[in-house]
């Protein structure tokens, strides 16, 4: 690759990275502001949570907690401390679990990423299958699939998940009930997330697919003797998936949201389940830590998606 072009790639990544960092800074500031507004006495909350009961703590005990967490410092000081610690990867200590947030999240993030990733792949697989095989045809199956896609897209993942759990795990015993870290325990939760997303992606790429099917170059391919399936797979699909790829960037965020609900339903490991408990426990450091880290993953995922877009569609310039 000529040096000039290589420079442009580097420049592109650099610009993206700066942009991403700026977004992350804004995210952390936003979460800090939101949590600083939290009403109620945080020291009392922490003491009672540790005791597991309502206690009558003395002022000395409350002061000790205030000093440890810096609750009584001026807000600007708290903010700067917060940013400074974040830069060192210190997200604070969870109120209820008394362990560093980074440790908690680090241990639990992998199952969520695995779940989100496999849901994304599965959703694409289903969507491509439906589109390549059935889109743009006049038979009743195609119309059925179009309608099915809308239905799939509107089904809440927690609802699908509950029904799948009861039908396939409890009644039919095909899958295990407990969501351990096994491969087979991944199937039902993945389906619960993948089905709505497949509906969305399917709807989006189908429109594009049908439009491209009518392009002249497709007709000429057929004239040259290429089979219908080949045409669809080799020529049309490549164009049709573009809007779907953009959608995938957004989908990462949506999958994380869905993971929160699905992990609760299947009692699976992952930051989603932890986030829910942390929310009811008003465990601010843990909630903000998970949110910021997820935002980080989202930003990285989007940069990667944009890069993938460039590969798929060389018409886009590295502007």
């Amino acid at each position: 690759m000529p040096i000039a072009s290589g420079n442009r790639h580097v420049a592109w990544f650099f610009r993206r990275a700066i942009g991403g960092a700026a977004v992350l800074w804004a995210v952390t500031t936003f979460t800090f502001i939101v949590q600083a507004l939290m009403p109620g006495d945080r020291a009392l909350l922490i003491i009672n949570m540790a005791a597991g009961n309502i206690t009558n703590p003395s002022q000395a005990e409350i002061d000790a907690v205030n000093a440890e967490y810096g609750f009584t410092d001026p807000i600007a000081v708290q903010y700067l401390n917060y940013l400074w610690r974040l830069l060192h990867g210190d997200f604070g200590v969870s109120y209820q679990l008394h362990r560093p947030v980074i440790e908690i999240v680090g241990a639990q993030i992998l199952p969520t990423i695995v779940l989100a990733f496999s849901a994304l792949l599965t959703a694409w697989f289903i969507a491509i299958f439906m589109t390549v095989v059935l889109a743009g045809r006049a038979n009743p199956w195609s119309r059925f699939v179009s309608g099915l896609q809308i239905v799939m897209a509107t089904m809440p993942p927690y609802w699908i998940g509950t029904i799948l759990l009861v039908t396939f795990a409890v009644y039919l015993r095909i899958f295990p009930v407990e969501g351990k870290n096994s491969l087979i325990g991944l199937v039902l939760p993945t389906l619960a997330l993948a089905i709505p997303l497949a509906g969305f992606i399917g709807l989006v790429i189908q429109q594009e697919f049908v439009r491209v099917l009518e392009q002249p170059f497709v007709t000429s391919s057929r004239a040259r003797g290429m089979g219908d399936f080949g045409v669809r797979l080799r020529h049309v699909l490549r164009h049709a998936v573009l809007p779907g790829v953009t959608l995938s960037g957004w989908a990462v965020g949506s999958l994380f949201s869905g993971a929160v609900l699905v992990e609760t339903v299947f009692a699976r490991q992952g930051i989603g389940g932890i986030l829910v408990t942390a929310t009811s426990a008003r465990d601010v450091p843990l909630v903000t830590g998970i949110t910021v880290i997820s935002a980080g993953i989202y930003v990285i995922a989007n940069i990667l998606v944009d890069r993938a877009y460039l590969i798929i569609d060389p018409r886009i310039k590295l502007a």
Partner: protein, 292 residues
């Protein structure tokens, strides 16, 4: 679904002829969807009309009954009729959905128009800001709010509203930008019309044309997400019949009383689906794609 041309006697007025002709071209599924929406709207406004029993009346001798003729969707642990609870919950679920969508639209309008009309600087700043909000998975933002402000119906509306706003803001920004660059706007500028007048008479009406469709689609999604929050136990207090709360309550009984979990879910899906079908149809008509 296509329809055959309708011919009417000449004596019928052209207006009525036109209306009937348009109506005949609307696919069947849209009619069905509209009926479902109407059903839920009536449930929301006057639930008593559609309920078979009182939603709160408990019949301790008929607990956990499966669906039957007297109880269409069965009864719950306290003998309350599930169908009636769903009907009575429509009001709360729909108002949360509408409230969240309205909030979402207001925020999105403000941001999108500002970005579309403002100079490059404003556009750049707002776009970055939208990127930030977009970076929060919607539910995470909602849970952050709930963590700080505590669970309640208000938090539900604000969380879902703010969470869905960035997507709409981007769409509106795109619409405003393309309207601004349109030929007739150029002409108006060349003719010397003042800018605010151009904005008011040309840009905004054309840019916000698809707003109705967006809102329609949005309400469905808002109801689904708000129910998700309630499902996690972060919504209204019992004995609320809000659909998400019903799903949360029904979870424990799913092995022995499946109707408690399945039926409210069906209601949510039916509503979101109908709203989506109608919304897509309106979108098709707007874009001139008849009989899509």
């Amino acid at each position: 679904m296509s329809s055959s041309a309708v011919t009417l006697p000449r004596r019928v007025s052209p207006r009525i002829r036109e209306t009937i002709a348009i109506s005949a071209r609307i696919p069947l599924r849209v009619y069905l969807a509209a009926t479902v929406i109407a059903f839920f709207l009536v449930s929301a406004i006057t639930p008593h009309l559609l309920q078979s029993h009182s939603a709160f009346k408990m019949d301790l001798r008929a607990t956990l009954q499966p669906p039957s003729l007297s109880h269409f969707f069965g009864t719950d642990q306290a003998g309350r009729d599930t169908y009636s609870r769903i009907v009575s919950g429509a009001g709360q679920s729909l108002s949360i959905g509408l409230g969240a969508t309205a909030l979402s639209m207001i925020v999105a309008l403000f941001l999108g128009v500002a970005a579309g009309l403002g100079g490059r600087l404003v556009d750049g700043a707002v776009s970055r800001f939208l990127d930030v909000l977009f970076a929060f998975p919607m539910l995470f933002l909602a849970l952050l709010f709930v963590t700080v402000f505590g669970p309640s119906v208000t938090t539900q509306i604000i969380a879902v509203g703010l969470g869905t706003a960035p997507g709409y803001a981007r769409m509106i920004r795109g619409q405003v930008l393309s309207a601004r660059g349109a030929g007739y706007v150029e002409a108006a500028v060349a003719l010397g019309h003042p800018f605010p007048k151009i904005v008011r008479r040309h840009i905004l009406p054309n840019a916000l044309h698809p707003l109705v469709v967006m809102m329609t689609l949005g309400v469905g999604q808002a109801v689904v997400w708000a129910s998700g929050l309630a499902f996690l136990g972060l919504g209204a207090a019992p004995p609320s019949s809000e659909w998400g709360a019903l799903l949360d309550a029904g979870r424990d009984y799913i092995t022995r009383a499946w109707w408690l979990e399945v039926m409210p879910g069906v209601a949510i899906v039916a509503f979101a689906l109908s709203v989506t079908v109608v919304g897509h149809h309106l979108q098709d008509r707007l874009e001139g794609r008849v009989d899509a």
